[in-house]
C-alpha cells in the first residue's frame, strides 16, 4: 500500500542524485519496499504473559535474574541457566551443542526476544516460557533436579527471603508449587531480555516515513542482500515478520541423524511432549482464567511431515549467535548461506513444500546476503 506513491518519488530521487560521485541510492522497487515494511516495526510492545501472574512484576524479575545464575538449582551445584545461556553472548553459549547434552544434542538458542515465541524449544515442546524454563531444571543432562530437591535447595539458598516475599512461607508450598514458582520467576526475568532497533529497522522506518534520502544511506550491499532475502532466495516465506520467523516448523534440509545413531524426530516428538505436559496454557497451572493463547495447544494438528522439522529461528542479532541450526552443525553465517545456495533437494521431505531449491548464489550474492543479515543487529 505505502509503496504506491513511491515510484514517482524514486524517480525524483534518482534524478536529484544523478551526477555526483557515488551518491547513495535506493535499490528497492515499490513491491520490495512493501515487503520490507512487513519486517517491522521494531521493537514491538513489551511482551506480557497472562498465564504467569508474575509477568512484569519487578520483584519477580529481580528474583528471576538471581535464579538464572544460581548453581543451587543444579544437582552438581555448578550449573546454572547462564552456563548455556551466557548473558555476554546473547544468552546462548557459542557451542554447537552443550558438552553434557548427549541423548538429544541440540544447540542452545539465544534467549533474547524469547518471550515473543508461540512455541519454545527447537521442537516446540512448550507453549509458554515458564513451562519451558522448568524443563532444564528437571532434565538430567541440564540441571538434573526434581521437585523435592528444588524445594530443599530453596530452603538453604541465599535468595530464600526474596522467594518468600513473593510466594509466602516455603513450608506452605508443595515441592511442585516451588518448582513452578521458580519457573515463573525465571520466565518473568527472561521476558525482559529484549533487543533494540537495528540499522535494518532504521532503514525500514525511513521507508515507512517516506524519507528516501535517509533510507538510501543503508548500505547498497545490504539492500542487494535484502532483495535476495525477500525475492529469489524465498527466505521471507519462512523468516517472515518483524522477528524474521513465522514461529512454525519447517524442513530446512539440515540432517537429523544423531552422532550416536538414531534420529532427532523434531516437531513430531515436540507435539507428543506438548500434549503430555500438565503445564500448558490449557492446564490448571496457568494463572489466566481466560486461557489466552490456549487455542494453539488445543487445535494444533499432527502431520507426518513433522518428523525432522524444526522451529524457524528468528534472525535478529543472528550474526552474534553462531553456531547455527538445531544441531549447531553450521559454524558461520557464510556456511548457512552456502547451505541454502547448494541445498540438496534429496535431503528434503519427499512431500515437501517446493520452496527450498539450490539458489546457486554467486560469491557476490552470498556476500550481499550476509551483509544484509549483519544489519539486523542491535549492538
Amino acid at each position: 500500500m505505502t509503496g504506491r506513491a513511491l515510484p514517482a518519488l524514486l524517480m525524483v530521487l534518482c534524478l536529484a542524485t544523478g551526477a555526483g560521485a557515488e551518491p547513495p541510492r535506493l535499490l528497492l522497487d515499490p513491491d520490495e519496499i512493501a515487503a520490507t515494511l512487513r519486517h517491522g516495526p521494531w521493537p514491538p510492545p513489551p511482551p506480557q504473559d497472562p498465564s504467569n501472574r508474575l509477568s512484569g512484576n519487578r520483584d519477580a524479575i529481580s528474583l528471576g535474574r538471581i535464579l538464572f545464575t544460581s548453581p543451587a538449582l543444579s544437582r552438581d551445584g555448578a550449573t546454572s541457566c547462564a552456563t548455556c545461556h551466557r548473558p555476554d553472548r546473547m544468552f546462548q553459549d557459542g557451542r554447537a551443542t552443550p558438552a553434557q547434552a548427549r541423548r538429544l544434542p541440540r544447540n542452545s538458542p539465544a534467549l533474547v526476544d524469547v518471550a515473543f515465541n508461540r512455541w519454545f524449544g527447537w521442537d516446540g515442546r512448550s507453549d509458554n516460557l515458564w513451562s519451558q524454563s522448568l524443563l532444564p531444571l528437571l532434565n538430567e543432562e541440564e540441571m538434573d533436579m526434581d521437585f523435592g530437591r528444588l524445594k530443599t535447595a530453596a530452603g538453604t539458598a541465599p535468595w530464600r527471603p526474596d522467594y518468600e516475599t513473593l510466594f509466602g512461607p516455603l513450608a506452605y508450598r508443595s515441592p511442585e508449587d516451588v518448582a513452578i514458582d521458580i519457573s515463573k520467576a525465571l520466565a518473568a526475568y527472561q521476558e525482559t531480555l529484549l533487543s533494540g532497533p537495528t540499522p535494518f529497522d532504521r532503514f525500514r522506518d525511513a521507508l515507512a516515513a517516506g524519507d528516501l534520502t535517509a533510507a538510501a544511506a543503508y548500505p547498497e550491499a545490504a539492500q542487494r542482500g535484502l532483495k535476495l532475502f525477500i525475492g529469489r532466495g524465498n527466505c521471507a516465506l519462512c523468516h517472515s515478520g518483524p522477528r524474521f520467523t513465522n514461529g512454525e516448523f519447517h524442513d530446512a534440509a539440515v540432517g537429523y541423524f544423531l552422532p550416536q545413531g538414531g534420529v532427532d524426530p523434531g516437531r513430531h516428538r515436540g507435539l507428543t511432549l506438548l500434549r503430555a505436559s500438565p503445564y500448558t496454557l490449557d492446564g490448571s497451572w496457568s494463572d489466566d482464567p481466560d486461557r489466552t493463547g490456549a487455542w494453539a495447544v488445543r487445535s494444533v494438528l499432527d502431520s507426518h511431515a513433522d518428523f525432522g522439522r524444526f522451529r524457524v529461528p528468528g534472525l535478529r542479532n543472528v550474526a552474534r549467535t553462531a553456531p547455527y541450526m538445531h544441531d549447531g552443525s553450521l559454524s558461520t553465517l557464510g556456511d548457512v548461506i552456502a547451505h541454502y545456495s547448494t541445498i540438496d533437494p534429496e535431503r528434503l521431505h519427499a512431500d515437501g513444500e517446493n520452496i527450498l531449491v539450490p539458489l546457486g548464489l554467486s560469491p557476490a550474492d552470498a556476500s550481499d546476503l550476509e551483509a544484509f543479515l549483519r544489519t539486523i543487529d542491535s549492538e
Binding site: N246, G247, W295, A296, S299, I355
Partner: protein, 134 residues
C-alpha cells in the same frame, strides 16, 4: 494489488445475492466462496482484504439462505506449497446461517485457498475462493 479481483468478484456477488434475497446483506469486503454445485455463494469475512501472516485471526461465514446447508468444516491450503494450516479452526454457529470461525492461522505469505464444506439434505457441497496472506 493481487487481491482486488477477488474483492470485485465478491462485491458483484453481493449485488446479485442481494437481488435474490433481501435478507442477504454480506459484510463489506467479504469474499465470495463459490461451489460448482450452485450459483449462490457463501461469504467469508476476515474483516480485512488481506489475511495476516502467522497471526491467528477469526472470520465470519455467512450463508445467503440458511437452508443452503450447515457448515461442517473450514480448511485452507497453499496450492503452491501443498500444505494446509497447522491448526484446526473452531466453528461456532452465530445465528441462522452465520458462523464464527476462530483460530485461523496462515503461516506463510502468499495465496491460500479457503474451502468451506456445507451439508444439506444428505448432500455435501464445497465452496472455495483464494485469499492472499501478507
Amino acid at each position: 494489488m493481487r487481491h482486488c479481483p477477488a474483492i470485485a468478484l465478491s462485491l458483484g456477488a453481493v449485488i446479485q445475492a442481494g437481488a435474490a434475497s433481501a435478507a442477504c446483506v454480506p459484510p463489506d469486503g467479504a469474499i465470495a466462496l463459490r461451489s460448482s454445485g450452485t450459483e449462490t455463494p457463501v461469504f467469508f469475512d476476515m474483516g480485512t482484504p488481506l489475511a495476516p501472516v502467522s497471526v491467528p485471526f477469526a472470520a465470519l461465514l455467512v450463508l445467503c439462505n440458511p437452508a443452503d446447508g450447515e457448515l461442517r468444516d473450514v480448511t485452507a491450503t497453499m496450492p503452491a506449497h501443498g500444505h494446509g494450516m497447522n491448526y484446526r479452526p473452531t466453528i461456532r454457529q452465530d445465528g441462522a446461517g452465520a458462523y464464527r470461525i476462530d483460530g485461523l492461522l496462515f503461516h506463510m505469505p502468499g495465496l491460500w485457498r479457503i474451502e468451506a464444506v456445507l451439508q444439506a439434505a444428505g448432500e455435501t457441497r464445497r465452496y472455495a475462493a483464494e485469499v492472499t496472506a501478507e
